[in-house]
């Protein structure tokens, strides 16, 4: 029983910049367009401002200058229609609600009807069978993150924002999730933006990888990933995959070198 899916929007950032109150420049004016129905990864070193970029897209942080448009409208209107969901770095599960309760709350907030069978499916998909009625305090860090991902998917958002969603997930589970999860949002045609500092994760999950420099973030490279899916297992070790991974690494190193050069000169 398919419910109406919010049509996947494109997201365009125009001269988007953020300077924090203390004067720290998190993001320098940046122009970026995320194509509708695509999965785009933002890759950069820790603290480069990629999370800030994502929060501005989500309408949670106000840009210092520049604009964000989701499907041609400001983020506020997307928010109002509950057309996006975000999985935060910190799983942000409410401790007094069970895994199911947390998912139900998201549905309630997004004004969606809760379908118990569908929630069960999602819980199973992220590998939390048998933990639906468990409270977050009794879950491991990785399990909590998986619950948070399930919650983000539950509202069938047109735009899915993932901020380091697999940070605390162990390697093996992460591999499994990287295979299973994109299937869901790709089948729905969701526009997804993934922030990560894992190069292999970015190459494996996305249609496009944008490499950012250290703070303030500027675009070092914009790489289209046209590998066939599924990309796990042997496919991840193909020549094409290796070449793309190398290219991402090269852009990252270049960014690091450029940013540290002026400091070394002082």
């Amino acid at each position: 029983m398919e419910r109406d899916v919010t049509p996947p929007p494109d997201v365009s950032c125009t001269a988007l910049a953020k300077t924090f109150e203390g004067g720290t420049r998190a993001v320098d004016p940046i122009d970026l367009t995320f194509e509708e129905g695509q999965t785009t990864a933002l890759v950069g070193p820790s603290g480069c401002g990629k999370s800030t970029l994502l929060r501005m897209v989500a309408g949670l942080d106000t840009p210092t200058s520049g604009t964000v448009e989701i499907g041609g409208a400001p983020p506020v209107s997307t928010l109002r229609q509950a057309g996006l969901s975000m999985a935060f770095q910190d799983p942000s599960l409410l401790p007094w609600r069970t895994v199911r309760g947390n998912i139900e709350l998201a549905l309630k907030l997004a004004r969606h009807r809760a379908d118990p069978a569908e929630i069960d499916q999602l819980i199973a998909l992220v590998g939390l069978d048998g933990f639906a009625e468990t409270r977050p305090a009794e879950l491991s860090g990785g399990m909590r993150q998986r619950a948070a991902i399930a919650r983000a998917l539950a509202t069938r958002p047109g735009l899915l924002l993932l901020d380091e969603p697999f940070g605390a997930v162990d390697e093996l589970t992460r591999r499994q999730l990287s295979q299973d999860l994109p299937r869901i949002w790709e089948a729905r045609g969701t526009t997804a933006i993934l922030v990560t500092h894992s190069v292999s994760e970015a190459v494996q999950l996305s249609d496009r990888v944008i490499v950012l420099s250290p703070r303030p973030a500027t675009i070092m490279d914009d790489i289209t990933i046209d590998l066939p899916r599924p990309r796990a297992g042997p496919a991840a070790r193909s020549d094409a995959a290796t070449a793309l991974t190398d290219r991402v690494f090269a852009a990252l190193s270049k960014g690091m070198a450029e940013r540290s050069a002026p400091m070394a000169a002082q």
């Binding site: 910190d90 942000s92 409410l94 997004a110």
Partner: protein
């Protein structure tokens, strides 16, 4: 995170439960045995009634005691409800209009610092006979200790929970319903737990001022008659009731929260990143509103000017009237006399609380036993035991000092023990890896970890110790500002009474703020995250 000095019990639930069950039982047995032995030894001295004698007395006089207890409980319950509703309302205003929080907490503190000893008689004149003053004093005794945890609780959620609600396009109402209300529940319950015995104490103090029935009336009668058994019976009954209510609210909290409520030590001094300028503006606003509200209330209720003095009357009495110098000298002498009891008692209570907590942490078995007993005893309305202390130690300076010290001791001890046990596990593991002994661990890690709790307790102990000293002076020793206020009330010397109330409240609030200043200095070094 919000700055907190609130700690959740650590460790798995099952271990906690078995320890919680065993600890108090052992502790209580030791306490009872010691008490009984002392009572038997001191039979001739007429100062101490053993538990068996108290039990016998209670059984024989149950009709009288039960009726008094019922009256006091009813008044305390009414005050409890009113005071806590006021706290919730004030917290709601502060939440809706954040800029008002500084003024609300400032005014609340000032009202909380009003000496019950003097507000009692004033309320008695205002209300006449009946339960009005008792209920009002009970409400006044509880609202502050509920308001402050509630204010913390309403903000005690990580930013990302609020982001989550916003990311689904929902606003402040959803945040309140789904995040803030739930997150503040443990804090609310912890506040209510402290409030319940405080309400009982407030009602009793209200009954001291010429009520017809109640535990407070019996207390006054017992002191006048020097009835040792009755005095001890009243104190025991008050203690049992307070502990029972404390435990009952804890049990309800566990049902609702599926977890222990956090132990509230007390609130941080000042909220986060406020600018100094805001602090001064708030302080001036608090002062203006307090004076305006005071004068306004007199005008609104059209009170008899002979009795009801306004701000200008107090200024006149203290500075302009022909006998202003004499008035100042009288009040000054009384304040100085009180300070001689208050300051040593306050410091002794703080030191004893911290020292015993440190000693116990070196002997973990003892700490496990003493902790639940101390938490429960903290809920004892110490002031109701004032006559006992006077019986035991006499009406001299020592008795008063000891009582103040006891009043300060229990909250400090509980806070420090919590703080000491709070030491970050990972840092402790680092010390373990260097095979550091228990003393090194205490000095290097535990004491710094204890400081925030210690100072929070020291701050809250300021109004508490003022309450204790004034009540003892009033009921027993007949010296100092407490006695002066009682005396001027009975002599209808309302100029002196109102001036004393103003000075005591102002000094008490000032002491609170000063300890808060020291606290901020220390926390900036040892616990910077608490000021963030």
């Amino acid at each position: 995170m919000t700055s907190l000095t609130i700690h959740r019990p650590i460790g798995p639930a099952i271990e906690r439960r078995s320890r919680a069950a065993l600890g108090p039982v052992v502790g209580l047995l030791v306490l009872l045995a010691g008490w009984e032995a002392a009572g038997r030894l001191l039979t001739e001295a007429f100062v101490l009634a053993a538990p068996s004698e108290v039990a016998r007395y209670l059984a024989a006089e149950w009709a009288l005691m039960g009726r008094a207890l019922g009256v006091t409980l009813t008044n305390a319950a009414a005050g409890f409800v009113i005071g806590n509703l006021a706290a919730v309302l004030l917290a709601a205003v502060a939440l809706v209009w954040p800029r008002s929080e500084g003024v609300i907490t400032g005014l609340a503190l000032l009202v909380f610092c009003l000496p019950l000893v003097a507000t009692g008689p004033i309320l008695r004149v205002l209300f006449g006979p009946g339960p009005g003053p008792q209920i009002t004093l009970a409400a006044l005794a509880v609202y502050y200790t509920t308001l402050i945890p509630l204010l913390i609780g309403l903000r005690a959620a990580p930013q990302s929970w609020f982001d989550l609600v916003r990311s689904y396009g929902r606003g402040r109402l959803s945040t309140l319903v789904h995040v803030r209300a739930m997150a503040s529940l443990p804090y609310l319950f912890a506040g209510l737990q402290i409030a319940a015995p405080a309400a009982f104490l407030g009602a009793m103090v209200g009954e001291f001022t010429g009520a017809q029935r109640g535990m407070g009336v019996l207390t006054v009668r017992a002191i006048r008659a020097l009835d040792v058994e009755m005095t001890w019976a009243i104190a025991t009954l008050a203690t049992l009731v307070s502990v029972a209510v404390y435990l009952a609210i804890g049990a309800v909290a566990r049902r609702v929260l599926l977890d222990e409520p956090p132990v509230i030590l007390s609130a941080p001094a000042v909220t986060g990143r406020r600018r100094r300028r805001d602090g001064w503006i708030d302080a001036s606003l608090v002062l203006a509103l307090a004076l305006g509200g005071w004068a306004g209330a007199l005008w609104l209720f059209d009170l008899n000017p002979f009795f009801a003095k306004g701000p200008h009357d107090v200024v006149e009495a203290l500075f302009l009237a022909p006998d202003a110098a004499a008035t100042r000298a009288t009040i000054g002498a009384a304040l100085a006399e009180t300070a001689i009891f208050l300051i040593p008692g306050y410091l002794a209570g703080l030191l004893a609380g911290a020292a015993l907590a440190m000693l116990l942490i070196l002997v973990p078995v003892l700490a496990g036993t003493a902790m639940p007993v101390a938490i429960a005893l903290r809920s004892v309305p110490i002031v109701t035991t004032a006559p006992l202390v006077v019986l035991l130690i006499g009406r001299g300076a020592l008795g008063t000092i000891v009582l103040v010290a006891v009043m300060v001791f229990f909250p400090t001890f509980v806070a420090c023990l919590q703080g000491l046990r709070q030491a970050p596990g990972q840092v402790m593991s680092v010390l373990d890896s260097y095979a550091a002994g228990p003393l090194t661990r205490l000095v290097r890690v535990r004491i710094p970890a204890m400081l925030p709790a210690f100072f929070a307790a020291a701050r809250m102990a300021v109004p508490a110790s003022v309450l204790a000293v004034t009540v003892v002076e009033w009921l027993a020793t007949g010296a100092g500002i407490g006695s002066l206020m009682a005396l001027s009330a009975s002599l209808s010397d309302y100029d002196v009474l109102w001036a004393s109330v103003v000075l005591v409240a102002a000094l008490s609030a000032l002491g609170y703020v000063l300890v808060g200043r020291v606290e901020r200095r220390v926390l900036a070094i040892y616990a910077p995250e608490q000021l963030a």
